[in-house]
C-alpha cells in the first residue's frame, strides 16, 4: 500500500492507503483538520490541498472547480483526488475567509480595451488583490483572504524559524503564499474574458514575506544584522510564480526599504505622496507590525514597531474581526451608551476601532484614569445623583479583574487587561512616531498631514486616536484615514512611471532601527499614558 505523508504546518503524519483511495478519506484517517462542507461534490472548494508528490490526474469535475493558477500550483480537491503511488500533500489552515474590501469604478467592464493589472499586498495575516485599470491607475476592486502560511504560526518569526529549520518547509511556505495569492485573485470573481486582459502583476510585502515568497536566504534577516539578503527590486519576477499567471503577464516585486520595513511601506510612501509632500507629513500603517513613515519635506524616515494584534481585535476579551455585529464605534450621549455595529446587527464584540472608541468614552467619563486603570473610586463619585454616569456598570471577572459592562443590556465587557493590551499597542506606535519626529527635529505643530491606514486604519475614530494620544497632538482636520494604503500604492507600481517612483523612494527612504535608540524605551513608557 502506498505511503501518504500529510503536512499541516509543523505537524507531519504518515498513513498507508489503498491505491485509488479518496485523498479526503485518507486525510480524515490522519486526524489532521480538513473541511469538506459539500460532502465530496467538488463544488465548495474548501478542501483544497497542495500536492507535492503523487495522486492520479484530476477528473473533469475537479478540473472544472480549479482555477488555472490552482492547476499550475497542483492544488487539488481532497474530496475528488485519488491516491496513486507514494503521495505527499500540504494542508491549508482550517479557517480560510475572503472579504471584499474595496469596490471602485467598473469602467473596465464597459471599455474592453482598458489593459488591467493586479496589485497584491502580501500581508502576514491577510493577502489582498486589487484589480487595477492600467490606463489611469484606478483601482476597480479589491478582495482579501487569510494568508495560508498561518499554518506555520500567526507570527512571522515562527515561519522564518520553520523555513530555516528545513528547506522543504521553506518551499512549502513559498507555495502557501502562492496558494493565498491564487485565492485572493480568485475571490475577485473575474470572468475569463477579464482575466485575459491582465498584463501586469506587482507584489508588495514586508521583508520576511518577500524573502519567504522568493525563497531567498533568510539568515541575515532572521539574525543580526537583520538585513535583507537582497533588497533590490525585481522587475521580472515570473520565475517565482510557478505558472500561476499566464506567461505573458509581467510580474514585479518592488524594492524593500530595510530588514524591518518592506515594499508594503514603500507602497504607502508612494500612495501618500512622500515624493512631493509639500511640507512635513506622517503616515502610519496599523497592523501587528505598525509601519511609521515621516518626512520633514526632504528626508524620509521609516520604522517598524511591534504593536501586537490588539488593533485587529485579537487578545481582547470581547474582541472581534470585522464581521456583522462587530462594534466599530462606541458613543455616549446624555448618559446613554450607543454601540455602532457592522450591518446594524446585534453586537458581538469589539473591533480595533471599537476598542479604541470604547476606551475613549470611558476615559472621558472618568472611569479610566490617565494610567489606564479602571477607577472604582471615581466611579463611585460619578454614580452619585449629581452625575450622569449611573449607566456605567463595573464588576469583576471570576479572576478578580475589573471590567466595565459596555452597555447595561449586553453581555459584553471591557476588562482592565483589554485596556492594557491597547496601551501597549498604542504606546509602541506613539513611541515610534515620537522617535522619528525627534530625529527629524519636528514638533507636532509642524505636521501638515497625518495619514492612518491598515486593516484597522480605514474606519477608525479620529477623535479617539487623538484623545488617547496614539499620535502626537495635532489638529483633527489634518488627520485622514484610508483603508488599504499599501494595496493602492502597490497598484501605482503597476505602471512604468509608478515603478520608477518606487525605485526613487526606496533610495531616499531611510530605515530607523528603533532598538538602536535608547530614547525609544522612555518614549514607549510615556506613550502608554492615555492622554494626548
Amino acid at each position: 500500500m502506498p505511503e501518504v505523508t500529510i503536512i499541516y504546518g509543523a505537524e507531519t503524519k504518515t498513513v498507508h492507503a489503498e491505491e485509488g483511495a479518496l485523498l479526503g478519506d485518507v486525510i480524515a484517517q490522519s486526524n489532521l483538520p480538513l473541511e469538506q462542507p459539500c460532502a465530496g461534490k467538488g463544488t465548495c472548494g474548501k478542501c483544497k490541498v497542495l500536492v507535492e508528490v503523487g495522486t492520479a490526474a484530476p477528473d473533469e469535475i475537479e478540473l472544472k472547480n480549479l482555477t488555472q493558477g490552482e492547476i499550475a500550483l497542483n492544488n487539488r480537491l481532497a474530496c475528488r483526488a485519488r491516491i496513486q503511488g507514494e503521495t505527499r500533500i500540504v494542508l491549508s489552515p482550517i479557517v480560510v475567509y475572503s472579504n471584499k474590501i474595496f469596490k471602485g469604478s467598473s469602467r473596465y467592464k464597459k471599455d474592453q480595451s482598458i489593459p488591467l493589472g493586479l496589485a497584491i499586498d502580501l500581508g502576514s495575516t491577510t493577502v489582498a488583490a486589487f484589480l487595477t485599470m492600467l490606463d489611469n491607475g484606478e483601482v476597480a476592486a479589491g478582495s482579501g483572504v487569510l494568508n495560508q502560511q498561518t499554518v506555520y504560526g500567526s507570527d512571522v518569526i515562527s515561519r522564518l524559524a520553520a523555513a530555516l529549520d528545513n528547506p522543504q518547509n521553506a518551499n512549502r511556505l513559498h507555495r502557501l503564499a502562492l496558494a493565498s495569492i491564487n485565492q485572493a485573485v480568485d475571490s475577485l470573481n473575474l470572468p475569463s474574458k477579464i482575466w485575459d486582459r491582465i498584463q501586469r502583476v506587482t507584489i508588495v510585502g514586508n521583508a520576511a514575506m518577500h524573502h519567504l515568497f522568493t525563497e531567498m536566504p533568510l539568515i541575515s534577516l532572521a539574525y543580526i544584522p537583520f538585513q535583507p539578503h537582497d533588497s533590490k527590486s525585481i522587475s521580472d519576477g515570473s520565475r517565482y510564480l510557478e505558472g500561476i499567471f499566464p506567461e505573458n503577464v509581467r510580474v514585479s516585486l518592488p524594492a524593500l526599504i530595510g530588514g524591518f520595513v518592506g515594499s508594503d511601506a514603500l507602497a504607502c510612501l508612494a500612495y501618500f505622496g512622500f515624493d512631493n509632500p509639500g511640507g512635513p507629513i506622517a503616515a502610519i500603517d496599523l497592523g501587528t507590525n505598525g509601519e511609521v513613515m515621516i518626512t520633514d519635506g526632504t528626508q524620509i524616515l521609516t520604522a517598524s514597531t511591534a504593536a501586537g494584534p490588539a488593533f485587529e481585535g485579537v487578545n481582547i476579551s470581547c474582541g472581534s474581526r470585522a464581521v456583522d455585529g462587530a462594534i466599530t464605534k462606541v458613543t455616549r450621549e446624555n448618559g446613554e451608551i450607543n454601540l455602532v455595529t457592522i450591518a446594524d446587527a446585534p453586537p458581538v464584540g469589539l473591533t480595533g476601532s471599537g476598542l479604541l472608541s470604547a476606551i475613549a468614552v470611558f476615559r472621558r467619563a472618568g472611569i479610566i484614569d490617565l494610567s489606564g486603570r479602571i477607577n472604582t473610586e471615581g466611579y463611585h463619585n460619578l454614580s452619585s445623583s449629581e452625575t450622569d454616569a449611573t449607566d456605567i456598570l463595573l464588576s469583576e471577572t471570576s479572576n478578580g479583574i475589573k471590567q466595565i459592562q459596555l452597555k447595561p443590556d449586553t453581555d459584553l465587557y471591557l476588562t482592565q487587561m483589554d485596556i492594557r493590551e491597547l496601551q501597549k499597542a498604542k504606546g509602541a506606535i506613539r513611541a515610534a512616531v515620537d522617535l522619528l519626529m525627534k530625529q527629524l527635529n519636528l514638533s507636532p505643530a509642524d505636521l501638515t498631514r497625518v495619514m492612518l491606514t491598515g486593516s484597522f486604519g480605514g474606519e477608525v475614530d479620529i477623535d479617539s486616536i487623538l484623545e488617547l494620544g496614539m499620535i502626537p497632538p495635532v489638529k483633527k482636520e489634518i488627520v485622514e484615514t484610508t483603508a488599504n494604503g499599501a494595496g493602492f500604492g502597490a497598484a501605482m507600481f503597476l505602471t512604468d512611471e509608478g515603478f520608477a517612483l518606487g525605485e526613487k523612494l526606496a533610495k531616499r527612504a531611510i530605515q530607523v532601527d528603533l532598538d538602536q535608540d535608547a530614547m525609544f524605551y522612555d518614549f514607549y513608557i510615556e506613550g502608554m499614558k492615555l492622554a494626548p
Binding site: 518569526i157 524559524a161 494610567s371 475589573k402 485596556i419 532598538d515 524605551y521 514607549y524
Partner: protein, 213 residues
C-alpha cells in the same frame, strides 16, 4: 520597628524612589536586620505589586518605578545579606537576547524574582549566547531567563539554548523565556522549559521550575 517596615512596603508599592535609601538606612540604624527588611518590608510590597500587576491594576510604568525603588533598598542590604550567609531560594541568570537593547521587561522580572528570595545575576542587555554559557558555567544557576522585546531577536534565544546544549550545561539548568512577541508555542518550539507573559508570572514560574529540579 514594624512601622518602619510597613513604610518600606508602602514606599516600594508607590515607587517612592527618592526616599527609599534613607528609609532603609534608618531601619538598619534602628536595629532592624537586613533579612527582616527583605522578608518583611520589601517582599510584602513585591507580592502586592505582583498581585496588582496580574490583575491589571498596576501597569508597566508603575512596576518599573517600583523595581527601581526596590533596587535602592537592595543596593544597601545586599552586601549585608551576603555576609550573613542567608540561603537564597535559588540562583537565576537573566539577560535580554542578543540584538535586544531594551530591558523594559527584564528588569521587573529581576526585581520580582529577587523579591521572591532568588539570587539574581543580571547579564544586562544584548547578551551573546556564549556569554550566557560562560555565566552558566561560572555561576551554576538553577535557571536562565531570557527576554526579547522585538520579534527579530526571538530566534537568538533559540541559539542560546543550542549553545547551552553544545557546552553540555543544558541538563543542569532550566531555561525560561518571555517578552512581548514570545508565546508558549514558541517556547515549546525552541525547547525552553517555560514561558511567562509577565514579571509576576515569571517569578511564579521560577519557583515552579526550582521545585522541579
Amino acid at each position: 520597628m514594624s512601622e518602619l517596615l510597613s513604610e518600606i512596603t508602602t514606599m516600594l508599592i508607590e515607587g517612592n524612589l527618592k526616599d527609599m535609601a534613607a528609609k532603609t538606612n534608618a531601619a538598619l540604624e534602628g536595629g532592624i536586620g537586613a533579612e527582616a527588611i527583605l522578608n518583611e518590608g520589601l517582599m510584602p510590597g513585591m507580592d502586592h505589586v505582583g498581585v496588582e500587576f496580574k490583575a491589571g491594576n498596576l501597569f508597566v510604568p508603575e512596576v518599573l518605578l517600583s523595581a527601581k525603588t526596590m533596587q535602592e533598598a537592595m543596593n544597601i542590604i545586599r552586601p549585608i545579606l551576603v555576609g550573613t550567609g542567608s540561603e537564597p531560594a535559588g540562583k537565576i541568570i537573566i539577560g535580554t537576547a542578543k540584538g535586544n537593547l531594551h530591558d523594559i521587561g527584564k528588569n521587573p522580572v529581576g526585581m520580582m524574582c529577587e523579591g521572591s528570595g532568588f539570587e539574581v545575576i543580571d547579564l544586562g542587555k544584548d547578551v551573546d549566547p556564549t556569554a550566557f554559557v560562560e555565566a552558566a558555567e561560572e555561576h551554576q544557576p538553577d535557571i536562565i531567563g531570557m527576554s526579547a522585546l522585538l520579534t527579530t531577536t526571538m530566534l537568538s534565544m533559540e541559539r542560546t539554548i543550542k549553545a547551552l546544549i553544545e557546552a553540555g550545561v543544558r541538563e543542569s539548568v532550566k531555561v525560561m523565556i518571555g517578552g512581548a512577541p514570545v508565546t508558549q508555542d514558541f517556547a515549546d518550539q525552541i525547547g525552553a522549559d517555560g514561558y511567562a507573559s509577565n514579571a509576576a508570572s515569571a517569578s511564579d514560574l521560577a519557583k515552579e521550575l526550582t521545585v522541579c529540579l
